[in-house]
Amino acid sequence: MLESIDTSMIDWSRAQFALTAIYHWLFVPLTLGLAVIMALMETLYVATDNEFWKRTAKFWMKLFGINFAIGVATGLILEFQFGTNWSNYSWFVGDIFGAPLAIEGILAFFMEATFVAVMFFGWNKVSRGFHLASTWLTGLGATISAWWILVANSWMQYPVGMEFNPVTMRNEMVDFMAVAFSPVAVMKFFHTVLSSWIVGAVFVVGVSAWYLLRKREKQFALASMKIAACVGLAATLVTAGTGDQSAYQVAQVQPMKLAAMEGLYDGGTHQPLTVVGPVKIPEMLSFLATRELSGYVPGINDLLDGGFRQTDGTVALSAEEKMANGKKAIAALADFRKAKEENDETAMQIARSNLDKNMPYFGYGYINEPSELVPHVGMMFWSFRVMVGLGMYFILFFLLILFFTWRRRLGQVRWLHWVALWSIPLVYIASHAGWIVAEVGRQPWTIQDMLPVGAAVSKLEAGAVQTTYFIFLVMFTVLLVAEIGIMVKAIKKGPEEDKAIDGTVQPE
């Protein structure tokens, strides 16, 4: 496979995609998280008719607006890359990807653009109820957009609801519901969106803590922290639950990812979960992966060697056997296309039958060495622990905020204010660590078992990809610096009286 493709070009294309996704994900979770918190604050304003909540909601809307404006459309660059750097992949999955991304685009444009405008410009121009509905619908629009993006991502991890057409060389959707509501997509949606609420909550608590450290806006800061900590605690607990379910799913559909997350080379029954170093929880990994304390969990070597009994009762094939079946699938595809050119119906039917039989292993035909099937174990192991460790830290963090709120001492505990402020970068690290686990863990696959990166990538010059990589690096860094600069300025200014969130002065 790799003889005809420059491997550095594959790596640069992967690096470019990773860079873009990482920067894009700096903006998205804050949008999703702040949307809920500011909508709750506006709901309190409408429910209590207390102007304090209006002022509070407006301030967080201003920060939401800055983040939304800077981040909007950065995800489209990923779609540029699909067409240019990953053309084989784009064509191969086009019909599956087209539907979710088209729905996402339409929803994002019409729902978010409409309701964001009402939220920004509509104070005093529409009724309170309509404005409140627009604020909630802004968040709902962003969340529904996230749903479709996550559906597309989940399909790559767990391809269902399609059939490969060897004539068009595309996967064609045969079951929309299977794609849109696959168990992996549903779990990924809740895990990702709820973890984004944690980002929003930590951000609000951290920024509010800064005001307390500066002895400013005490009532505003304490009220914001209380709302955010409630949202954050609920989101953290649900995220822990969906994380557990996600790990169980990974054990079923991407066992190599789980083995890499645990650094488990030789599996077995009664497997412990490694915390760090020699600290292990007996039988916990078996329980997480199989829901039985004695369950069998295959390690990396077991998955490469095969021969163990799988949960469906079949015996696992070795990597070598899968690679041989993959070669058969590709050979059958070549035979099919040749027979079609020659209008040989009989040969087409034979080739199609061989292709269908070996299609589950199609992607393995591009693998040269079994070791290519193992993702980066060190990166997986530590990213997983960073994500889970910080997740547990945030449960404690929100509990502490709520405890001191209950004791009416939150305004005095300066050490906690510093902790809150420095938790802002930590929540972004946790969020990105989660994506590293999800995406590095599925390497070398762009589509699980169907298309590895080496087959998916376009035949470009590595230099061209390097050039655009550095253009993106500069562009995104400028955008990030702009966001942080504008946001810090807005935070320093603080909540304002009688001003719309876009800065316009409007009489009450």
Partner: protein, 72 residues
């Protein structure tokens, strides 16, 4: 009736944009970003690899690529 609604929607957006103060900085950032993305990057650096090919040519191109890379 529909025309009246369209005018009021237009006025809503127009007044909103007109009355902006610091929000203008954000719009400048958005417009510069979209210009860089869609005019510079899309046109000069991110031309779709299969652009200019017919549907049939795209099928053949991807078919050949995926077969050749697998057989080697």
């Amino acid at each position: 009736m529909i025309g009246k609604h369209i005018i009021s929607v237009f006025e809503f957006y127009r007044d909103g944009f007109r009355n902006m103060t610091w929000g203008r900085t954000l719009w400048i950032v958005i417009l510069v970003k979209l210009f860089v993305m869609f005019v510079i990057l899309r046109v000069f650096f991110f031309t779709p690899y299969l652009k200019g090919k017919s549907e049939l040519e795209k099928q053949q191109h991807v078919g050949c690529e995926l077969i050749e890379r697998g057989i080697k």
